[in-house]
Point group: C2
Chain length 306, copies 2
C-alpha cells in the first residue's frame, strides 16, 4: 500500500498545492483507490505515477467543491481513454445527484458502469483483502472520515523447504499449512509450524477531513499505521477552526495521540500559511512522528512495529 | 485588447495543454472576459498574469465538460478571494441549471451576484465600447461561436494644441471636437479637423469552437483582426472531423480565408498529435497568416492594416 498526495491545499488551489485528493495504490491487485477528487485531480494524476486506468474506487468525504469538482472531469477522461471496468464511488447523500447533473448537462456518456454508494456509518466495503469503514466527522456539512484496513495474512508456506525434504505434494501440504503435525508413510514426522512463516498483520490508513477535533476521528484511526488528518489552521488560529469546523495542528496531533497511530500526516493547509515549519513543530510537540503532506508526496505504508 | 490562451487541448488535458479557455484582457476598463472554462482554468489563471478579480464576463460556447467543468470552481474561488462585483455568464440553454446544481450540492454560497444569460443568435451584449454577437455553429450539441467587436473610436481631441493657441476652454472645445469651424470673439477662425486625430477603427475577435466548417463561422469572423478557430484534426483525419463534428486545419483555414480575417490562431488540438508542425503547414497553405495556440500564448490584437 502506497499513499500519494495529489492535493494538499484547503479551499482553493495554490501554485504548489492543489485541492484535496489522495491516491492509495494497492499493488497486490493493481488497483488505485482515490479519496476525494477536487478540481484538477486528473491533471495531478497525469503528473504523478498513478495510472487513472487502475482507479476502481473513489471515496468522497463531503460535497464541498474543493473535494468533488474534479470528479466529473476525471470520469469523462477515463471514458475517453477507453476505460471499461466498473467504478464504485462511496459518498455522502447528494453526490449521485451532483454527478448525474454534471454528466447530464454536459452530455457526457460513460461507456463503463459507475455505481454511487451512499456512505453510512460502519462498513462501506469489504472483500477478502480489505475493509473500508466510515464514520461522521464534525464539519459544516455532512462529512465522513474513512478507514482502510488491510486484513491480516496467514504466514507463507515454504513449498521449497517441503520439497527439498522429499515431502510428497498434495494433501500433506494442506495439513502443514494449517500448522498441523503430520507423520509420513516413511515414518518421518513434521510440524507445520516449521514450514509456515509468521502471520502478517494487516495495515490500516485513516483519512479524516474536513473536521474539527472529534471522537469519531480518534475511533476511526485506532492504531492505524498512517493517519491522514486535516490541519487547516495553526494552533493560534483556533478561533477560525472553531468558526469553520476545521482542525488546528494541535487537534490533528491530539487525534493521532489518542488513537495511538504509528504516523500522522497532516494535510489540507490554509493558503494563508507560507511557511509550514511552525505548524509541523506544533504538532510534533504533541505527536512526534508527524510529517507534512505536499503534492506528490508518496509514502509506503509501514507494517506495525509492535 | 490582449488574448491569452489558458487551454488549447481538445477533450482531455495533456501535460502541456489544458482543456479550453481563452482570456481577453480589456486594459481600457481593467476587465477580463473569459471564453469557455474547462476544468483547471482557475489553476491556469493562477499561473498566468490574468487577475481573476478582473473577470466580469464569461462566454460559454457549449456544455461539453472540457468547456465548463472549471466554472463552478472558478466562481467559488473568486468568492473565497473576496469578489464582490457582478459576474455575467452567457451560455447556451442548460448552463444555468448545471451551475445551480453544482453550487447547490456543494453548498457553495457566492457573496457576489452571478447572472446567467441564455445566448441566442444576434447581439448578446453591447455597451459604449463593445458588442458581442453570437451564432450557432455545427457540433454534436448546441454550440455558439462569439464575435467581440470593439466600437470605432473618434479621433482624440488635441487639448494641448487648443490651449497653446489660446482658445478658451468650454463650449468651443465641444464644437471643435465635432469637427466644426468656429470663429472666436477675437476674429480668429479654427477648423475642428485640425484638432481631432484620425478615428480609430475598432478591432474584432471571433471565437469559433467546437464546430465543423460552417457558414456561420465565416459570417461571425468577417474581417476580424483575430480569428480563434478550433482545429481538432489534421487534414488527413477529416473522416473523424465529420464523424465528431470538429474541424480540420483545412476547415479552419478556409473559414479564415472566406472571412478575410487578419490572423488565424488555431487551437483545441487532439492530443493524438505530438508534433503540430504539419498541422500548421496545412493551414498556412491556404491561409498564410496562421499560428498555433499554446497554453499561455498571449497576443496583442492588432489594429486593421487596411
Amino acid at each position: 500500500m502506497q499513499i500519494t498526495f495529489l492535493g494538499t491545499s484547503s479551499g482553493v488551489p495554490t501554485k504548489s498545492r492543489n485541492v484535496s485528493s489522495v491516491a492509495i495504490k494497492l499493488p497486490q491487485r493493481s488497483e488505485v483507490w482515490l479519496f476525494d477528487c477536487g478540481e484538477g485531480t486528473q491533471h495531478q494524476i497525469m503528473r504523478s505515477d498513478i495510472k487513472s486506468s487502475q482507479i476502481t474506487k473513489i471515496f468522497i468525504t463531503h460535497l464541498h467543491g474543493d473535494h468533488i469538482f474534479g470528479l466529473a472531469g476525471l470520469l469523462a477522461s477515463c471514458g475517453m481513454a477507453g476505460a471499461t471496468q466498473r467504478m464504485d464511488i462511496y459518498a455522502p447523500s447528494g453526490l449521485g445527484e451532483y454527478l448525474d447533473a454534471s454528466l447530464r448537462y454536459s452530455e457526457t456518456k460513460l461507456a463503463y458502469p459507475v455505481k454511487v454508494h451512499r456512505a453510512k456509518t460502519g462498513v462501506v466495503f469489504s472483500d477478502a483483502d480489505f475493509t473500508v469503514t466510515c464514520a461522521p466527522l464534525k464539519h459544516r456539512v455532512t462529512a465522513y472520515g474513512y478507514r482502510l484496513t488491510e486484513h491480516d495474512r496467514t504466514g507463507r508456506f515454504d513449498v521449497e523447504k517441503a520439497k527439498s525434504l522429499g515431502i510428497p505434494e498434495g494433501k500433506v501440504y494442506g495439513l502443514l499449512k494449517q500448522g498441523k503435525t503430520v507423520t509420513l508413510e516413511d515414518g518421518r514426522t513434521f510440524n507445520g509450524a516449521d514450514f509456515v512463516g509468521a502471520p502478517q498483520k494487516g495495515r490500516a490508513i485513516a483519512y479524516c477531513t474536513d473536521t474539527i477535533y472529534c471522537d469519531n476521528a480518534v475511533e476511526l484511526a485506532q492504531k492505524a499505521n498512517v493517519l491522514i488528518h486535516e490541519a487547516t489552521f495553526a494552533h493560534q488560529d483556533a478561533d477560525m477552526a472553531f468558526a469553520r469546523l476545521h482542525s488546528t495542528t494541535t487537534m490533528a496531533a491530539q487525534v493521532a495521540l489518542g488513537a495511538q497511530v504509528q504516523q500522522l500526516v497532516m494535510t489540507h493547509f490554509s493558503p494563508r500559511y507560507l511557511n509550514l515549519d511552525e505548524l509541523l513543530a506544533e504538532a510534533r510537540a504533541i505527536f512526534p512522528n508527524t510529517i507534512l503532506a505536499h503534492d506528490f508526496l508518496t509514502i509506503d505504508v509501514p507494517y506495525s512495529t509492535n
